[in-house]
Amino acid sequence: MIGTLATGFGFWNPLMWIIVIVVAIFFSWLLWKLGETNYEGNIWQTAPYLSGNDEPEKEAIHIRAGNMYWGFTKALSVYYDHLIPLHSGIVSDYISWFLIGVVVLFMVVILV
């Protein structure tokens, strides 16, 4: 069958995958069609409840990149505190790392 990639341990066929996804979407649509038909959008009942405060302008509540994954970097702060300074932007540091890399590789190749 066209598209079947044998990986040596199994196979992968993107066309079959797409068929499965289309069938899943179809059944999702069927479920959705079985839902309530008298739903009304854009009325006071659908507005977010913010403890009685007015909803802010959309532009003011855009979640920007800096709001994301700060917890991840915070949790790994020990790792990042060591890793980021290595990327100092100083070219002499870069050359030093290059030379260290050469020496380490040579030692490994010779000794192991």
């Binding site: 855009h62 990042y80 590789l105 190749v109």
Partner: protein, 525 residues
């Protein structure tokens, strides 16, 4: 033109055409500026066609050997040379042809992008000339069978890339990035030149096949190998030799960064060529394979974890480029580690090799696409900072769709091309060492997380007032993205055809060192 003459001299045209175009571009710019852009697009297209035709010849015949300065039919080894090829040789096997295909596609897409994105800048003639020189440098690196020629093309590659990085961004950042890239790559290039000198002093030849035939695993040759690996790892942006890569990629014009992806892959090509075609017959332990694997794991993990906290969108993509290079090293490294064991090669080494190689062309397509889409965003907004972006999907729908295709592909989401090559790498690496395969999968999850952040912060959310006047980019830029997106989708939908037709001959050519030697020493034109 005589068709036979044309097809016989394709390897010469591969280099002559971009060089000819590069030197004529400033003349067009001076006397006929209105048709200069059309000229550059035409010469880039013609060069890409030549590269594709040459690649087709190689895939049909197994290899193409071209002896410069000799009449057709002349042997690669002159009678009075003592069995040593003296002339400049291009020896293009399936691996070289594979790289030609990748470079040809990306370079043509890039020039469509650059001729719009850079049109309001000054000194464009020189800019395009440097672009064509960079293309010639990449083509030369992946075609030559001569160590010193390889070094010369590597230098053309590095110097033209440095000049292009510095060309078109206001302020000192671009010049600083270019200077760092030039200095570090010059040091890497010097190491490669030193390594070539060490081999030349022992074997009296610069020809890769001659050296490969005579090489032994002495301490001196191990030092030579390490110098090659370090120098080429610098070019390819492999941890811990990657430090200048994000500094340079992030400040270059986006089209240039896209071409630098394939330029860096030419460094990876050099590393694999040295490891398999030159040293492949003398490795007696798995240590070099493990070195490549460890460099791959370090690149994957450090690349992706450094990408996550970035706020400059191009710097973030640059770290992802480093991370993806790790996958290629992982696949090929596993194959290298089991090189002497036929059972393990058949069991999973062959698949690991194919996965790593498949990832090279996949990465060129989806990472090229991502850089072009980000270039389109910067072209319209003038903003690099992710924290200042948002809501652009309302105005730049096609760019958003192309970015989404690239993002899903790099994260290894089916049915795009990145999934197919990653699956091959995961499964084969799992058979070799499950822990490494798990690390590779974790890196893929982190990549997806990182691109969710980028996609949301650039394209999602409400329309922002500061981008009220933003509109979709011109059609030519969209066409450049569409070309790469088409390959991302096509390679994902028929991975079996790509692997059978493009990748398997490459894997066979790398495993079969004797075939490479025979292609030169067995005759040639």
């Amino acid at each position: 033109m005589n068709a036979e003459l044309f097809f016989t001299n394709l390897p010469a045209l591969l280099i002559a055409m971009p060089l000819f175009g590069a030197f004529l571009t400033p003349i067009f710019g001076r006397f006929l500026p209105k048709i200069r852009d059309a000229w550059v697009i035409l010469i880039s297209f013609a060069t890409s066609v030549v590269a594709q035709l040459l690649a087709a010849q190689v895939y049909i015949n197994g290899y193409v050997m071209y002896v410069f300065g000799a009449a057709p039919g002349t042997s690669a080894i002159p009678i009075d040379s003592g069995g040593i090829p003296l002339r400049i040789l291009f020896n293009i096997d399936a691996f070289g042809a594979f790289m030609l295909v990748s470079t040809a596609i990306v370079s043509f897409a890039v020039i469509l992008h650059l001729t719009i994105s850079q049109q309001k800048r000054s000194s464009l003639s020189e800019f395009y000339a440097l672009y064509l020189l960079l293309v010639a440098g990449i083509f030369g690196m992946v075609s030559t069978g001569d160590m010193f020629n390889f070094f010369v093309f590597l230098e053309i590659n590095s110097i033209s890339a440095s000049a292009l990085i510095a060309y078109h961004r206001n302020g000192a950042l671009a010049a600083e990035g270019a200077l760092k890239y030039l200095i570090v790559n010059t040091v890497g290039g010097l190491m490669i030149l030193f390594a070539i000198g060490l081999l030349y002093s022992q074997y009296n030849s610069l020809n890769m096949a001659i050296i490969s035939q005579n090489i032994s695993l002495t301490t001196l040759n191990l030092l030579t190998l390490v110098l090659f690996i370090a120098g080429l790892a610098t070019k390819a942006g492999i941890v811990p030799f990657h430090l200048t890569t994000p500094d340079a990629y992030s400040v270059a014009p986006s089209g240039v960064t896209t071409l630098m992806i394939v330029a860096s892959q030419a460094g990876l090509y050099g590393m694999f060529r040295i490891l398999f075609s030159v040293y492949g017959g003398v490795f007696t332990s798995v240590i070099v394979g493990w070195i490549v694997i460890i460099l791959g794991v370090l690149s994957m993990f450090i690349g992706v974890t450094m990408a996550i906290p970035q706020k400059d969108i191009k710097r973030l993509l640059s770290y992802h480029a480093i991370s993806q290079t790790g996958y290629m090293l992982l696949g090929v490294g596993v194959a290298l580690a089991v090189l002497g064991d036929v059972t393990l090669i058949d069991s999973f080494g062959n698949m690991a090799m194919k996965g790593g190689l498949f990832h090279i062309i996949n990465h060129a397509m989806y990472k090229g696409l991502l850089f072009l889409t980000v270039g389109a965003v910067i072209y319209r907004t003038g903003v690099w900072d992710l924290n200042k972006m948002g809501g652009l999907g309302h105005k730049m729908k096609w760019t958003m769709i192309f970015f989404l295709i690239g993002a899903l592909a790099i994260a290894g989401i089916p049915p795009f091309n990145g999934f197919a090559s990653k699956l091959m790498i995961y499964e084969s690496t799992f058979a070799f060492n499950p822990i490494i395969a798990i690390i590779a999968m974790v890196v893929s999850i982190l990549t997806l997380a990182s691109f969710m952040k980028v996609f949301h912060s650039v394209f999602m959310g409400p329309e922002l007032l500061e981008y009220a006047s933003v509109r979709e980019v011109p059609r030519r830029m969209l066409a450049s993205m569409a070309i790469l997106a088409m390959f991302v989708i096509a390679f994902g939908f028929v991975p079996d055809l790509v692997v059978d037709m493009l990748i398997t001959p490459v894997a066979e050519s790398l495993f079969n060192q004797g075939q490479y030697i025979h292609s030169i020493l067995g005759g040639g034109l």
